[in-house]
Structures are given as structure tokens and as C-alpha cells.
């Protein structure tokens, strides 16, 4: 990755798209502290976070989900979310249990809170991850392809969910391949290719960008 410069304003929903292998997940890993960047700056709300450990970055307010869902397999749904609540930014005065219950209601998992992730569908497991990330009370949420592989009904539910999250004031940076989604809810888009930003701007602008079209030609079926 090189020469990547991007910005997410407070409360914005920003989409990150690009062909396979363009470096999107790598970017996420750099932001969330999994990999240390060789050069450059990463700042959250003005504070530098490059080079910090993943857990401190989380406590500073960045939450994320993973492309391949990784809920904690030996913990129930509720406990998964509780982990996020315990070690994230916290909710101030509010009791963690209340915060978790609220979030589980918000994402629709309340009925399944005592089940183990292994017993649930992939859609539900995605929701566990999402709830867990939300439980860290992030200011910026990194969503990694949460829409992939969902049927239309689930897709729409998720769309609503993500929009609701945005309404709560949480900034979102989402990697997506499902164009319909990312076009619909992003305030702005960045297009990545071979580790470089090749376009940015409002969804309509990017969609008509010649470079972007050529990069995607033949690769994506637009929904």
C-alpha cells in the first residue's frame, strides 16, 4: 500500500471499494493496529494512533468487524457482546449489562443471546460481530464486507441496521463489494486499486469516473 490518504468525518459513512487484492483489508489492519504501518500517519480525532497496540486503539474508539466472521466460539452471543462492552470505550454511567441488552435489541439478537455462535447462521454471526463491535462504543466503526453472501431479505435488514448505526452518530468506514449497498448508504467513496487510492468523492461521481469503470470492467456485476 502506498500513497493512501483518506479521511472520515464524524458521523459520515464512507465506503471503500476496489477489486480483489487492492489492499482494503490491509488498510483496516493498519488502522485497527493489527499491522504496524511503515510510514505515514493515522489519526483518530486528532490523536495519532499509528503504532499503538490494537487494544489501546479500540479503547480510543475504533471498532471493527472481520471479513471472515470471528465470534468467540466458546462464549454465548451475550458474552461475546459483553467482551466488547467490558473492554471498549465504555458507556460511562450506564451498566454494561444494560448496554449489552440494548445493543442486542438494536441488532435483533436478543432472542438468541444465550446461544453459542456455532449454532447460528452466518447472517446471525455477522450480527454478533457487529453488536460486539458496537459494544466497544466506537466513534469509528470499520465494517469489512458485512453484506457478502446474504440473501436479499438479510441484505435489506443489514442495510437498515447500518443506516441506523450511522444515524447514531458513529462514523463508518465500510469495505464492500456489493455495489448497491455501498452506493446507497455512503456519503462518500474511496476506490482502491493495487494499494493506491485511484478515486474519491460522492457515489455518483465515482460511479461515472472513467478510471474506476475501467478497473472494474468485467469484474463486478452491478446490482
Amino acid at each position: 500500500m502506498q500513497n493512501v490518504s483518506l479521511k472520515v468525518e464524524e458521523g459520515e459513512t464512507v465506503g471503500l471499494i476496489g477489486p480483489n487484492g487492492s489492499g482494503k483489508s490491509t488498510l483496516f489492519n493498519a488502522i485497527s493496529g493489527v499491522h504496524r504501518p511503515d510510514s505515514g500517519k493515522i489519526r483518530l480525532l486528532g490523536k495519532s494512533i499509528a503504532g499503538k497496540s490494537p487494544n489501546s486503539i479500540c479503547q480510543m474508539g475504533i471498532g471493527r468487524t472481520f471479513q471472515i466472521v470471528k465470534p468467540f466460539q466458546s462464549l454465548t452471543v451475550y458474552e461475546n457482546v459483553l467482551v466488547g462492552a467490558m473492554y471498549g470505550r465504555g458507556f460511562g454511567e450506564k451498566k454494561l449489562e444494560d448496554a449489552c441488552s440494548e445493543l442486542l435489541k438494536f441488532t435483533g439478537l436478543e432472542g438468541k443471546k444465550d446461544l453459542l455462535p456455532g449454532n447460528l447462521t452466518i447472517g446471525d454471526r455477522r450480527r454478533i460481530e457487529l453488536t460486539r463491535a458496537l459494544a466497544t462504543n466506537p466513534t469509528l466503526l470499520l465494517l469489512d464486507e458485512v453484506m457478502a453472501g446474504l440473501n436479499p431479505v438479510e441484505s435489506n435488514q443489514y442495510l437498515e441496521l447500518v443506516e441506523n448505526i450511522g444515524t447514531r452518530g458513529i462514523a463508518i468506514l465500510m469495505i464492500e463489494h456489493v455495489m448497491k449497498v455501498v452506493m446507497a448508504i455512503s456519503n462518500r467513496l474511496y476506490v482502491l486499486n493495487f494499494g493506491e487510492v485511484i478515486a474519491e468523492g460522492k457515489p455518483e461521481e465515482v460511479a461515472s469516473n472513467k478510471k474506476v469503470i475501467s478497473v472494474y470492467l468485467g469484474e463486478e456485476t452491478n446490482a
Binding site: G33, V34, H35, S53, P54
Partner: protein, 297 residues
């Protein structure tokens, strides 16, 4: 003058003992490179080879050096059996884990150890060197123990042989597996077979090391663990992936031990290897591949 002699002696001792460690480390690195497991039974296998040679001598009167080919072949076969029987089984269990395989090899080590204790008691045995060799010869005015010299020669032979092996089709396939297992599979390499054969080779190498070790040291069934840890030290020191690094590291350990005992009492000799291992593990980011050892941050 005295210091010089001592130093030279220590140097030579280090090189000679190191040669055994070098072969041992090479075997471990091989197994790790291809199968990504640390075989904690390697020391036990080495000692078993020493015992095999011992009994061949005692019961059949076979010269230890002549027993090497026998050991080579039988341990190659044994290695393949272990790879197929034990390692593959544990790797294919529904909840596969690499650490579990380590446990299995540890169990195997104790299994071998204890079977030998039951069979042959825990007495120390010595592999008597053949009578036709003079005990020591004089080279450039320094007395050199011929047996130890022979182990160096044999180690060099092994290293040379290994270099040729790497150039063969099999060797290339092996190297492919150490780099990237999946890619190798795509290229038509049968990972299972290569693994098994590699294990066999590593075991055979351990066999040679065993005979050489038996010729110079007293062995008993419990000596295995100590050797395993020393082997691990060598493998880790050599970079856990670099074959020549392992060979070099073997000599380094030998030298460290032989010079070390000049400063601390002989009882602590084995300790030196352990301490080196711990130190390397702790200092890893510097010398060795960071990703292999550490989880991020």
C-alpha cells in the same frame, strides 16, 4: 601458552560436539520447515539409534561405523511410520491443532524413553569404538580424538549429501513445501508424501547423530529430552527454516558449551544450551523471523 592450548582444545571439542548437534538441528529444522511441527521426540529417536547401534555391536558384533547404514535405513523407515501413524493421525483429527501435535510428539518421546527403560534398565551404556581406530592422532601437533574427528567428517559428508539432495526433484519439492504448502500442492506436489519422506530423512539424520553421540558419550534412555532441547536450541538459533543455519548453529552450540565449561563447572554444561534457547526466544525480534514467534504486539 597454556591458555592457547586450552583454547584450541576447547575450540576443537566444540567443533566436534557441535557436529552432532548440527545434524540433530538439521533434522528438526527439516521437520519444522515442511510440517511446521517441532518434533519433541527427536532426542528420544537419537538415543534409540545409539541403542540400536549398541545392541548391534553387543549381539551381532557389528562395528558402530558399519551400523550407520543400518541405522539410516531403519530409522528412515521408522520416521515414515511415525509420520504416517502418529503425526498424520493427530493432524487429521477433527479438532486439529499444531500444538496438539507437539503434545503427541512429547508423548511419543516419553513412550520411547520408558519402553527402553523397561527393556534395558536405566543404566548408562557406552558404544565402544572400534579397535582398529587409534584413540587419537596428532595433527599439526595437536592431539585429536579420532572418534570425534570422525563425527566431524561424517557431518560434513551429511551436509554435502544434503546439498545434493536439495538439488534433486525431491529436494525442490521439499523446499517448495517449506515455503508455501498450498502453493506447492497446486504445483502438483503431494504434501503428505513429501512430509512423510522428510520425516524419514530427519529421523535417519537423527540416527546418524545417535550413533555418533553414542560413540562419544554415555547414553541412557533419559538422555533424550536433554538432546531434544539442545536440538531445539540449534534449530531456533539457526532460524527455524534455514537448513544451513541449523548446521552452523549446531557448531555454535558446541563451541558455546565447550568454551562455557571453561568458566562454569561442568555440571552446568547442559544448562548452557537451555539458557541460550531461552535467551533467543526472549530476544527473538532481533535475530529471527518475528512473525514466527510473536503474536502482534
Amino acid at each position: 601458552m597454556d591458555i592457547l592450548t586450552t583454547a584450541v582444545q576447547a575450540f576443537l571439542n566444540g567443533i566436534f560436539e557441535g557436529s552432532v548437534y548440527a545434524i540433530l538441528g538439521l533434522g528438526l529444522t527439516l521437520m519444522f520447515g515442511v510440517m511446521r511441527i517441532l518434533n519433541l521426540a527427536s532426542g528420544a529417536l537419537v538415543i534409540s539409534a545409539a541403542f540400536l547401534s549398541y545392541w548391534l555391536l553387543q549381539l551381532l558384533g557389528i562395528d558402530p561405523y558399519l551400523s550407520i547404514p543400518i541405522v539410516l535405513v531403519s530409522f528412515f523407515a521408522l520416521g515414515i511410520c511415525i509420520a504416517k501413524g502418529v503425526v498424520e493421525v493427530s493432524m487429521s483429527s477433527p479438532q486439529y491443532q499444531i500444538v496438539g501435535t507437539v503434545m503427541v510428539t512429547y508423548g511419543l518421546a516419553l513412550l520411547i524413553e520408558n519402553i527402553e527403560v523397561i527393556a534395558w534398565k536405566a543404566n548408562y551404556r557406552a558404544l565402544t569404538p572400534p579397535a582398529y581406530l587409534p584413540t587419537s592422532i596428532s595433527i599439526a601437533g595437536v592431539m585429536i580424538n579420532t572418534i570425534r574427528l570422525s563425527s566431524l567428517i561424517i557431518t560434513v559428508a551429511v551436509a554435502v549429501g544434503f546439498t545434493f539432495l536439495l538439488k534433486t526433484r525431491f529436494g525442490t519439492a521439499m523446499r517448495a513445501c517449506t515455503q508455501n504448502r498450498e502453493m506447492a500442492g497446486v504445483m502438483g506436489v503431494n504434501y503428505q508424501s513429501i512430509s512423510a519422506i522428510t520425516f524419514g530423512i530427519a529421523a535417519a539424520l537423527g540416527g546418524i547423530a545417535g550413533v555418533l553421540y553414542g560413540l562419544t558419550e554415555l547414553v541412557n534412555p533419559y538422555s533424550g529430552m536433554m538432546l531434544t532441547i539442545k536440538g531445539l536450541t540449534v534449530a531456533v538459533l539457526g532460524g527455524l527454516g534455514s537448513f544451513y543455519g541449523a548446521l552452523l548453529a549446531g557448531f555454535v552450540l558446541g563451541l558455546a558449551e565447550s568454551f562455557g565449561v571453561l568458566f562454569v563447572s561442568a555440571a552446568y554444561k547442559d544448562l548452557i544450551g537451555f539458557v541460550i534457547l531461552i535467551v533467543i526466544l526472549l530476544l527473538s525480534p532481533g535475530g529471527l523471523s518475528r512473525k514466527e514467534f510473536y503474536t502482534p504486539t
